[in-house]
């Protein structure tokens, strides 16, 4: 199967191709799990090994995206030096841990380092 986001827009689906792509690979791929959840009710055990594996795979997948967004971003963020992006992310995570796992503290610290660092650094 070689249907991509780009090619679907040029095929039989025309202008609706990208929307069809989002509907199938986005809406259906997420809501199918919600529907399963309704059907499963509370029969799923939260500590089963299968569920632990699923959680690990989902976490690694999203972490992979995070890593790519920091190291190989598209658009405006790519204009920031890669060292600055890494330092800002590391300091943000450090602030998050120091503030007893407060997400807001981490986000604010990382953003401050990115913006101030960018404006202060030469070039």
């Amino acid at each position: 199967m070689t249907t991509t986001f780009e090619t679907l827009g040029q095929g039989w689906a025309g202008d609706f191709g990208p929307y069809l792509f989002i509907l199938l690979a986005g809406f259906l791929a997420t809501d199918i799990w919600r529907w399963l959840g309704v059907l499963a009710g509370n029969r799923l055990h939260d500590d089963s090994e299968v569920l632990n594996w699923v959680k690990a795979v989902a976490t690694a997948l999203i972490a992979g995206v995070i890593g790519k967004l920091i190291l190989f971003p598209t658009g405006a963020l790519a204009a920031a030096p890669v060292e600055l992006r890494l330092v800002a992310a590391a300091i943000g995570w450090g602030a998050f841990m120091a503030a007893r796992k407060n997400v807001l503290a981490g986000v604010v610290a990382a953003e401050l380092v990115l913006i101030v660092g960018w404006l202060v650094l030469p070039g």
Partner: protein, 244 residues
């Protein structure tokens, strides 16, 4: 609200729905909206159209899966590979919804209503449900949840559109800073949500493996970093548990 009000069995659906919408002024709702600013910018920087970005927030309504979807689409992955990557990122919705159903369900609640409402279950609304709903009479839970969940979704659709449109008019530093919100929010939120060792290992391995496999140009980099990194983390977590 007083206990006396709670006992009124005829409290109408619309009153509880309206009360639920007030939850939009809470901290978790505001944090989510700030993160969706980042998503609107991410979509624009990734070459999507305004309509596609808005449609994605409305139809998918799970930010991690939306970020995976955009990442997979821009890397030119096929429909099938994208479907698998997005589905893997969304599996955790099943246990979340399964835990949410017994809390909102009444004996006479039609299944279609739960199926329709389940679309609005994502991390923010789910956590909010567990904080707010147990204190409410059972008949109020579905309208109260619906009020909060629907307004949260509608507001974030608007935030997606507004940030997409504004991104073009912003200086490069501001656009970059907004784009940066998405990875930083997920890095910290995932760290906070990781309860078992396997999840923490998966986070660390995925952070390295995702960019590494992309850089090595192996193809299907996200899928491999998820399946490979996640399986590795799962077994590392088991080893850790079997140690004294």
């Amino acid at each position: 609200m007083s206990a006396q009000q709670d006992d009124e069995p005829q409290k109408s659906w619309i009153v509880w729905f309206a009360r639920g919408t007030l939850g939009i002024a809470s901290a978790p709702a505001l944090i989510l909206m700030v993160t969706f600013i980042g998503f609107g910018v991410l979509c624009r920087e990734s070459g999507l159209t305004l309509g596609q970005a808005v449609f994605m927030t409305a139809s998918v309504w799970a930010l991690p899966s939306q970020v995976v979807l955009v990442g997979s689409m821009t890397s030119g992955a096929s429909l099938l590979v994208t479907w698998i990557a997005v589905a893997l990122s969304a599996v955790r919705l099943t246990p979340m919804v399964a835990a949410w159903v017994p809390m909102v369900r009444q004996p006479d609640t039609p299944r279609w209503r739960l199926l329709a409402l389940s679309h609005f279950v994502a991390i923010t609304a789910w956590v909010w449900s567990f904080l707010k709903l147990p204190a409410l009479p059972r008949s109020a839970r579905i309208p109260y949840f619906a009020g909060f969940a629907v307004i949260l979704s509608v507001c974030n659709i608007a935030v997606t559109a507004a940030s997409f449109l504004l991104a073009g008019a912003l200086p490069v530093q501001a656009a970059a800073a907004l784009f940066f919100l998405t990875p930083i929010y997920f890095l910290t939120a995932l760290s906070a949500a990781a309860r078992i060792p396997a999840e923490r290992y998966a986070l660390a391995i995925g952070l390295v493996l995702g960019p590494l496999l992309f850089w090595l140009d192996v193809g299907l980099d996200l899928l491999w970093s998820g399946l490979g990194g996640g399986t590795l983390a799962f077994f590392a977590g088991r080893l850790k548990r079997h140690e004294p």
